[in-house]
Amino acid sequence: MITKQLLKINSHLQIAEDTFEVVLQSSMAQVLKPGQFVHIALPNHMLRRPVSVAAVDAHAETFTIIFKIFGEGTRQLGKYKAGDSLDVILPCGSYYPIDQLEMNQALIVGGGIGVPPLYYLAKSLKDKGVKVTSILGFQSKDQIFYEEKFQQIGDTYIATNDGSYGTKGFVTDIIDEMEPTFDYFFSCGPTPMLKAVSSKLDGRNGYISLEERMGCGVGTCYACVVPLKEDPSKSKKICKDGPVFSANEVILT
């Protein structure tokens, strides 16, 4: 059941350059699944901002979001403080269907602000006993976050565009290098990365999570469609049918 809630901010921390981790109190926290997002209203902005769920603490009834300052809205979001409230629609969208998947090993490939939802996913996979390998890409050293947390879950490899940390280059360079073994891959990040990853892992089973500018965030406005591989004249909505899609389901543009 999707709802609009006014949520209290329990903590609001900067965790990397321009990057914030915000913990929100919500009675709906435990229904949030890995891959889903929440849709956040900001004063004096016409449109809400979609941000992925990065972690859930079902017991404390809290969930975590991690966002990077990109434009005006995320800048504003960066100025909130613990104790403030946020107007949030949740839960939004589809999730990684890990309960329906048989697997022993999972590969996680994330880039930039695509990393947060993968943390919740990685943790959930580990809790299910799946061995998780994570390959994470960032622009530079200062932007890296949650490396330790990923390490606690499984082997974690980092690439930075400028080589200031880990492998210099892209996540696909690490894939080339280490030739990981896995049953399913899960990827989230900028579209060029998703394209590179999907084509490199073509034919493998996997799931990707997409981004698109959104209007409603709930499926009414048709702003966020993506064409389907089996019939490009048909489409699905990223906010409702997605953001998680089977790797071969949609056409990345």
Partner: protein, 302 residues
């Protein structure tokens, strides 16, 4: 407080309805509240065949507004009748279908097909979509084309026809007169204004279609002016829209001469926008000294 709004073919328990394209076919927002609370529902545009619409990005945010260029994506009129409209049956609220097309023939085809549906109460004739290459806004900016398509649709339709006017015109009264002369039962105004936003990083328009339709509070003064002007010279029912966020905004439209109002962009910001406006309206009407919705209509004229 009597909130009843009476328009040709429509007796509404309150004057507030979601605007076309901002509410899909109702399913999603039915999760947030009981759609029976609504005065009516205007559903997403229907064309003759399924349409994919424009490339993405399709929306952008502007100061107090947004741009959209969905491009009339919809599953086609037949599928809408079969798959979408039945969902709204259980709700106690009239449904208005939004008719779109590229040619007069397509408009007429959609209209005739909609005659077969018992799930609707009226048609909104969308001659003002700025986001499609053919049809759409040409019909809405040329009085003779507007007249022609309205005449044909009116001939074809078993339902009352509300013509949705484009604000992208030099003379809105001329457009209103043109369609009213050939029997439009009412007007819907306004659709979006054509706008553009350029992404500085990418050095190109944000919206893939380049231009998009501007909606939201930014355009409210233009909507109010156009409704006021049309009301001054014509005696035709008007569904007013363009930037309504609050019950105060809704009242401003009534004072300008609207007989009912539609809420578009506000739904995206606040899925509860419509029921909140409806709940607030009695208080606001009272505060400004009105006894009913009908009492307020046109009262901003001097």
């Amino acid at each position: 407080m009597n909130l009843t709004a009476r328009l040709p073919g429509l007796t509404l328990k309150n004057p507030v309805m979601p605007a076309s394209g901002c509410f899909g076919f109702g399913k999603e927002y039915s999760q947030f509240y009981d759609l029976s609370e609504l005065g009516a529902i205007i559903v997403k545009a229907a064309t003759g065949e399924a349409r994919y619409g424009n490339l993405t990005p399709r929306v952008a945010e502007t100061s107090s507004g947004m741009l959209n260029a969905i491009g009339l994506q919809n599953p086609g009129v037949e599928q809408i009748i079969e798959e979408e409209l039945p969902f709204l049956r259980p709700y106690d609220t009239p449904v208005i279908a939004n008719v779109a097309g590229s040619t007069v023939e397509e408009y007429v085809k959609v209209t005739k097909t909609l005659n077969h549906s018992k799930d609707i109460t009226a048609l909104e004739l969308n001659i003002s979509c700025p986001n499609v290459k053919e049809g759409g806004v040409q019909f809405g900016t040329d009085p003779s084309l507007a007249k022609e398509v309205t005449y044909q649709v009116k001939e074809a339709s078993d339902y009352p026809v509300y013509v949705k006017l484009s604000p992208n015109v030099s003379n809105i009264v001329e457009m209103a007169k043109a369609v009213s002369e050939v029997g439009a039962d009412g007007l819907s105004m306004i659709n979006t204004l054509t706008g553009m936003q350029i992404n500085l990083k990418q050095r190109k328009p944000i919206i893939a279609n380049k231009t998009g339709g501007l909606s939201g509070p930014a355009i409210k003064p233009i909507a109010i002016r156009m409704i006021y002007e049309v009301r001054q010279s014509l005696d035709i029912p008007i569904i007013g829209m363009g930037g309504i966020i609050t019950a105060e905004d809704a009242l401003e439209f009534l004072l300008a001469g609207a007989d009912a109002v539609a809420v578009g962009t506000a739904n995206f910001q606040n899925p509860l926008a419509c029921p909140e406006i409806i709940n607030d309206l009695p208080r606001v009407l009272k505060q400004y000294g009105f006894d009913s919705v009908e009492d307020a209509i046109g009262k901003g004229h001097v």
